[in-house]
């Protein structure tokens, strides 16, 4: 192909890119919106947390032992200390996030502090008069108490807490304005206090028993193929392959969709023949495919960059390596050209977007398969199903990025190379078929072709 023809492909590609990506709608929808949403995901929990009011006030407790209020107050103090940092650290540890600096847990804890149990105390009342409970309930309505709890004596009696301990129940009266969350917290505090009081009544040390019952933390390390290459185990590991696949999906299908609509638009605007008087159909096809490849790349970089920034912020970069990212780019290109060839062929064959749906349905059915394979591939990235899926066009790029994202052991190089080879071969075949459909379809008006006619176009063109 001469330099002049290549230059024309460049002109078409630039127009496609400029009129797709450098528009307010695209910048807002595909770049600013996801960045904003990511920001919201981080900020919203903090905003919500700041909306929670701390639980403050006094709880009136009717119990015959008189020991409930003391145990209740002690529990509240303990809970407050734990909420300030302990919960956040535990959540982060469970997620497998390395937060040695404590930056993350500190931040979450600071935000959660207001939402934690506040200044709550309990006051004991001996059930010495018949109208005591009614009086306390009236006082609660007037705002004196945040709750009135009536603890049956047998619940706190160690001797009776064996056979029939489940029979009696605690009565808890709350003012109607109490939030459900505060109701749950008070209920939980009272139930936990009941257990502690039972231990005291039996003469046991609750703290000691609790320590004994505490299940120890396990630090899981995955053994690499070489000594010293141990990696941390993380629940996020499951999300990495899904993230890879979704990234590929979003980047290729968004750009593919633009390719479809721009081709249909050129047909319905009747500008296509003007353009074809200046360039050949193949130049037009390649210009469009390459221009929208840039659009796809912008989407990939935006979303992928956000994901990598997130991973780096969580100090999980060990989950990704440069090699993995480079292979991801190779399979991104295979995925993009696969989707682009399909979309260009469909776009050229139809006259309206609604007609395209007929052809889109089977394409989508095939390309939705990788989503269904997420769990099995993540569980066993080098299993037979995963290996076969990663060799099967047109789903192979999606399956392979899940494998390279999920593998604790790297995917064998020969499999990567074979998959790349099959991928490139299928892309060449698809682009060839698409170009033949494009050449015929782009000037066709009227009734869209049947699948059989499409095959005839491929053979005839």
């Amino acid at each position: 192909m001469s330099d002049r023809n290549l230059a024309k492909i460049g002109v078409i590609a630039w127009r496609e890119f400029r009129h797709t990506a450098l528009t307010k709608a695209f910048l807002f929808g595909a770049v600013i919106l996801p960045i904003g949403m990511m920001g919201m995901l981080l900020v919203l929990p903090l905003l919500f947390a700041s909306q929670f009011k701390p639980l403050i006030g006094e709880v009136a407790v009717v119990d015959s032992t008189g020991s409930f209020a003391g145990a209740f107050d002690a529990l509240v103090v303990e809970r407050r200390d734990r909420d300030r940092s302990g919960d956040a650290e535990e959540v982060i540890r469970r997620l497998g996030i390395d937060d040695r600096g404590g930056m993350l847990s500190g931040g979450i804890a600071a935000a959660a502090e207001d939402a934690a149990v506040g200044e709550v105390t309990a006051t004991d009342f001996k059930p010495n008069s018949d109208d005591l409970v009614e009086r306390l309930k009236k006082e609660a309505r007037d705002g004196r108490w945040i709750a009135v709890a009536v603890i049956p004596e047998e619940l706190l009696d160690e001797a009776d807490a064996t056979e029939e301990q489940k029979a009696p129940m605690i009565d808890l009266f709350l003012p109607k304005e109490t939030s459900p969350r505060h109701g749950d917290e008070i209920s939980d505090l009272i139930r936990s206090t009941t257990v502690r009081v039972r231990f005291s009544a039996a003469g046991d040390d609750f703290e000691r028993v609790q320590t004994m019952l505490d299940r120890p933390t396990v630090d899981v390390r995955r053994l690499g193929s070489e000594a010293g290459k141990e990696s941390g185990d993380s629940k996020l590991r499951m999300l990495i392959p899904f993230g890879f696949m979704m990234l590929l999906w979003i980047a290729t299908f968004t750009a593919g969709n633009f390719l479809l609509t721009s081709t249909i638009e050129e047909k319905s605007n009747k500008v296509i023949e003007v353009v074809l008087s200046a360039v050949g159909p193949l130049q037009l096809l390649w210009g469009k495919i390459l221009g929208l490849a840039l659009v796809s790349l912008v989407i990939l970089i935006t979303y992928g960059g956000l994901a990598i920034a997130g991973i780096a912020a969580l100090a999980l970069t060990e989950l990704l390596s440069i090699t993995v990212l480079l292979w991801a780019v190779v399979f991104f290109l295979i995925a993009y050209f696969t989707v682009a060839a399909l979309m260009a062929a469909i776009g050229s064959a139809v006259n309206e977007l609604s007609e395209a749906q007929t052809f889109m349905a089977p394409v989508m059915v095939v390309l939705i398969v990788p989503m269904l394979l997420w769990m099995p591939i993540s569980e066993n990235p080098n299993g037979t199903l995963a290996v076969v899926a990663s060799m099967l066009p047109p789903i192979l790029p999606f399956a392979m990025v899940m494998r390279i994202g999920a593998a604790t052991d790297p995917v064998p190089v020969w499999q990567l190379l074979l998959s790349t080879g099959i991928g490139i071969g299928s892309v060449v075949g698809l682009v060839w078929a698409a170009s033949r459909i494009f050449r015929v379809g782009i000037l066709m008006q009227g009734k869209p072709p049947s699948p059989l006619e499409l095959i005839r176009w491929i053979r005839q063109a």
Binding site: K8, V271, L276, A278, L443
Partner: protein
């Protein structure tokens, strides 16, 4: 190199069961302004698309500017029948895009676009989106896009459709100007009198076959009706009987509007008959009838035209 800009030999194209073009031979000499005429569905656009290598003929030879049109796209300007613009693009961006695709360098395009827009009566629309222009204005922008690269061969498929008389006249002048600059122009139309006003050569096709291909003057001579039409102020019957006796007159008839049609014999001096008519009494008008292309076409295909411009009664004289 051949002096023909376009050279088609036995070209045929069939769509499904429809034979759109049948063994068409067509030679368009360089520098000519040729009208490519025929009714709707005659095969004009199919032929033009084959000339442009947008579709391929089933058989036959096809040479444009001495080779394949694909190799000379930058030397050909083409305004298709099915034409449009990128609605969301600004006018200047659209023209720049087409100009770049036609091989014009980016540096010279800015000035060229501004000047060309002024020439077609659309100054200052560079920054407007194409969708903001009226249909007629879009038509002119499309025409400009076809010639922005100053091509040596210009092919216009129904260039006047959708234009009001003022803009049609403007386009007419522009086409004449381009022709005067030495460019070869082939334009199709189904409105024959437009071609009659502009072209020096006419090609007519019907149902995919060529029915006429000649210089306009030759066609006029060949299809000269040899008729004088006189409208007397007095009784048409008197003028009719006067002219009936003249030896140059072959036949005579009076139409519904009281005009006398005197058909002349071959190779006689029409001026003498006109002088005799004027001497016979006062006349409102007298003229020598000219064959319109509508009439020629009607005669050649022996059927009424779809746009109904011709009068079958007159055509019977041809």
């Amino acid at each position: 190199m051949s002096s023909n800009c376009i050279d088609l030999g036995e070209v045929a194209k069939t769509f499904g069961g429809t034979r759109a073009v049948r063994d068409l031979n067509l030679q368009i000499p360089s520098g000519s302004l040729c009208g490519f005429l025929g009714p709707n569905g005659a095969g004009k656009s199919t032929t033009i698309r084959m000339i442009m290598s947008i579709i391929r003929p089933d058989r036959g030879s096809l040479r444009v500017l001495g080779g394949d049109a694909l190799d000379h796209k930058d030397r050909i300007g083409y305004l298709p029948e099915e034409r449009g613009v990128y609605r969301k693009m600004k006018v200047a961006d659209y023209l720049r895009y087409i100009g770049r695709l036609k091989g014009v360098d980016a540096a010279s395009l800015r000035k060229l676009i501004t000047e060309s827009l002024e020439r077609i009566g659309l100054p200052g629309v560079e920054k407007k989106r194409c969708e903001e222009l009226s249909k007629g204005m879009q038509q002119k922008v499309q025409f400009l896009a076809a010639i922005i690269h100053k091509p040596e061969l210009i092919i216009l498929d129904e260039p006047f459709s959708g234009l009001d008389p003022v803009n049609a006249m403007l386009l007419h002048d522009l086409i004449r100007e381009l022709h005067d600059e030495g460019r070869t122009i082939l334009f199709s139309t189904h409105v024959l009198h437009q071609a009659e006003r502009m072209c020096d050569r006419i090609v007519m096709i019907d149902q995919g076959s060529k029915v006429l291909d000649d210089e306009l003057e030759t066609i006029r001579e060949r299809f000269d009706p040899r008729t004088i039409i006189a409208e007397p102020l007095g009784d048409p019957a008197e003028l009719s009987s006067l002219l009936k006796n003249a030896p140059e007159v072959e036949s005579i008839e009076i139409d519904d509007e009281g005009r006398v049609h005197a058909r002349l014999r071959q190779d006689i001096d029409a001026d003498r008959v006109m002088a005799a008519a004027i001497a016979g009494g006062p006349l409102r008008s007298i003229e020598r009838a000219r064959t319109t292309l509508d009439e020629v076409f009607l005669h050649l295909v022996n059927r009424p035209l779809q746009h109904g411009a011709a009068d079958p009664a007159e055509a019977a004289h041809v």
